[in-house]
């Protein structure tokens, strides 16, 4: 059952990721991004990270994607305003680079002989592993400083975005 779900979610992720980078119209790219985030959230659930999966859907599919769609609709690009895509030879070169990049990771991973490769039994995990409660205890415990400093980052990004996008400051 887990294997089947893993295969299904991986296939959804790969296909929609390919759709994101190949569609000419940015609207289709943004909509493919939704199914990519959905597939990834399923993978996070399988990996026993329910809180991160929920955040994935809320932050990425909820906020970031709406921002993308909003900008796409705001600009409403015409055919000639879309970037002039490079020819087939350049794309082939880029695809070659990407394949090499992927192989650089995949070959060592598949070639290595680890003691165990499976994720281990569920019973070995801490109770309520990955729940909001469990992650929250860490966020407000060991990682409190990092957690609080993200608020400064968000504040800076928010003010920066407003100032940059404004017509006159």
């Amino acid at each position: 059952m887990t294997d089947l779900l893993f295969l299904l979610a991986s296939a959804v992720c790969l296909v929609s990721a390919l759709a994101v980078v190949t569609r000419k119209n940015p609207i289709y790219s943004a909509l493919s991004l939704v199914s990519f985030f959905g597939g990834l959230a399923v993978l996070f659930l399988l990996l026993r990270a329910p809180f991160v999966a929920a955040m994935q859907l809320i932050v990425y599919a909820g906020a970031i994607l709406v921002l993308f769609l909003f900008v796409i609709m705001l600009l409403s690009l015409k055919e000639e305003e879309l970037g002039k895509e490079k020819g087939g030879r350049f794309k082939l070169f880029a695809a070659g680079l990407a394949v090499v990049l992927a192989l650089l990771v995949i070959l060592p991973v598949l070639g290595s002989e680890t003691a165990r490769d499976d994720f281990g039994p569920e019973s070995a995990l801490a109770p309520r592993f990955g729940s909001a409660e469990h992650v929250g205890m860490g966020l407000f415990g060991n990682f409190a400083l990092a957690f609080e400093s993200t608020s400064i980052l968000i504040l800076a990004a928010m003010m920066g975005a407003v100032v940059i996008a404004k017509k006159r400051v």
């Binding site: 980078v21 970037g83 680079l97 992650v135 993200t150 968000i154 990004a157 940059i164």
Partner: protein, 108 residues
């Protein structure tokens, strides 16, 4: 099938697809989306390693570090998209293009 190696392989594939999008596409919107793909591929690897190490009883880490890292990545990604799209809007207002190839004012 559902093993650590397969998760890392999937993560590498997604990262490579995102890298292809950044290199090959000539539309800043799609390039930003490809950057999101790459960030998410990294998140997948972090969560997979987190799950792997959480079930080792002798391991000192309680498996939480990966989850916190992923949440931090999400914050950075959200900030990056907000600023990136603001720059894009300002750029489009001035130059009426989303093609990075046409933005060559700094070229000598």
């Amino acid at each position: 099938m559902f093993t650590l190696s397969n998760c890392i392989v999937l993560s590498a594939l997604l990262f490579a697809i995102g890298a292809y999008g950044v290199v090959a596409r000539r539309n800043i919107l799609v390039m930003l989306m490809s950057v999101e793909l790459m960030l998410n591929a990294g998140n997948l690897a972090l969560i997979a390693f987190s799950r792997y190490h959480a079930s080792i009883p002798s391991s000192a880490a309680n498996g939480l570090t990966g989850h916190v890292f992923v949440l931090m990545t999400m914050v950075v990604a959200a900030a990056e998209v907000a600023v990136g799209l603001a720059i894009l809007i300002a750029l489009f207002r001035n130059r009426q293009t989303v093609d990075p190839g046409e933005l060559d004012l700094l070229k000598g």
